[in-house]
């Protein structure tokens, strides 16, 4: 599963962990996160600004 990082505050969205507080349970794919979703920590960058970091977990096996 892939990880995506906010370019401002370095918050990371990890598909494996999701972001339950924001309504994205573990294993929510990035594609399901709405485009107007802002970084939950700094809110100055939105989803399209996030930088892909590559895979998480052992070998990055897709769930």
């Amino acid at each position: 599963m892939a990880r995506y990082q906010c370019p401002d505050c370095s918050y990371v969205y990890d598909e494996e962990k999701g972001e339950a507080h924001e309504g994205f349970p573990p294993h929510t794919p990035w594609a399901q996160v709405p485009d107007d979703w802002a970084c939950p920590d700094c809110a100055v960058r939105d989803k399209p600004d996030f930088i892909p970091l590559g895979m998480s977990g052992i070998g990055g096996v897709a769930a």
Binding site: G23, D41, A43
Partner: protein
Amino acid sequence: MSTIARNPSADNAPDRYVDRKRYLWMLSVIWPAAPLIGLYLVSQTGWGIFYALTLIIWYGIIPIFDGLFGNDPNNPPEAAVARLEADRYYRILTYLTVPVHYASLIVSAWWVATQPMAWWEVIALAFSLGIVNGLALNTGHELGHKKRAFDRWMAKIVLAVVGYGHFFIEHNKGHHRDVATPEDPATSRMGESIYKFSLREIPGAFRRAWNLEKVRLERVGKSEWSLSNEIIPPLLLSVAIYTTLILVLGPDPKLLVFLPIQMAFGWWQLTSANYIEHYGLLREKMADGRYERAQPRHSWNSNHIASNLILFHLQRHSDHHAHPTRSYQSLRDFRDLPELPTGYPGMFFIAMVPPIFWSVMDRRVVAWAGGDLGKIQIDPASRKRITRKYGRAREAARIAAE
């Protein structure tokens, strides 16, 4: 930390920075106790004027200090930021400020309910405490931007003092996203008076906070009318604090007048801050329909050392909006920022007299936009007046550009 590498004015100075303001930051902790110092002076001298002590220092003395002490030459290099962020001392100061706010409210309310006071003295103390309540919003602001759950809870607890718990959502997720755009009820428009602005800002902020939580809770699958709505717990705490004060101290008529005034004036301090922080500024729309990212030039900055030391650096607002999770001790000043002529206290004061505020700020906004009125947020009702007055500047800018 990537936040540091990406700072727009990153410099390569090595980290030999010594924070000369380290111990002076205690002023930000002590200043919210100013109404209590006023009460002590009343008890020692019997002079009612000390009820207004906070009011006089805030609007009268601090602007003089800002003029005397001027700009703050201290500026941590980027290399020092990570070290400053990791230093627990600074964080502890923000925690210590929280009980000070509770003490100021509780002792002042007790005083009003039990001590003989003239009506004008009650009002003077209410305004004094209101200023300090504005600072509860400032403390809640500093804590609410942090990533730790403990800090965020402390933010809600201190915001409850002034009955503004929704600020935590509204500011972080609403204002920071929409700042310097027409969508932001907390960004003022050129030509808009603070009074007109407050009628747009106060209800607009609450609506935006509620909608943000509604959208989030729909995704989570919970009702907006539940304790999961982050607006509700601090609101309940406010109700509990004020109900307890009235029940314990008794429904004294002076107390019943005092409490709403001190709270409303606390809100007014936030309105004042929002009014001056982005007045007229506008982010441009990009080709894809999104706004350009919030940059330091989209906030009015004030690097005045005196007022910054009692405000946890709030006035280094440009860096704050560019990097909202950065702590107060690490905020930096940059060259070529839109600058306020004095610190917040002085600006708050002149904001209450719109013709003076406009005469000070409007030409600065026009200069910021390079004379192009199309790059400024203008109050629709004032557009004609402003175009008549500053339209020529635009012509001149166009000719100069050619």
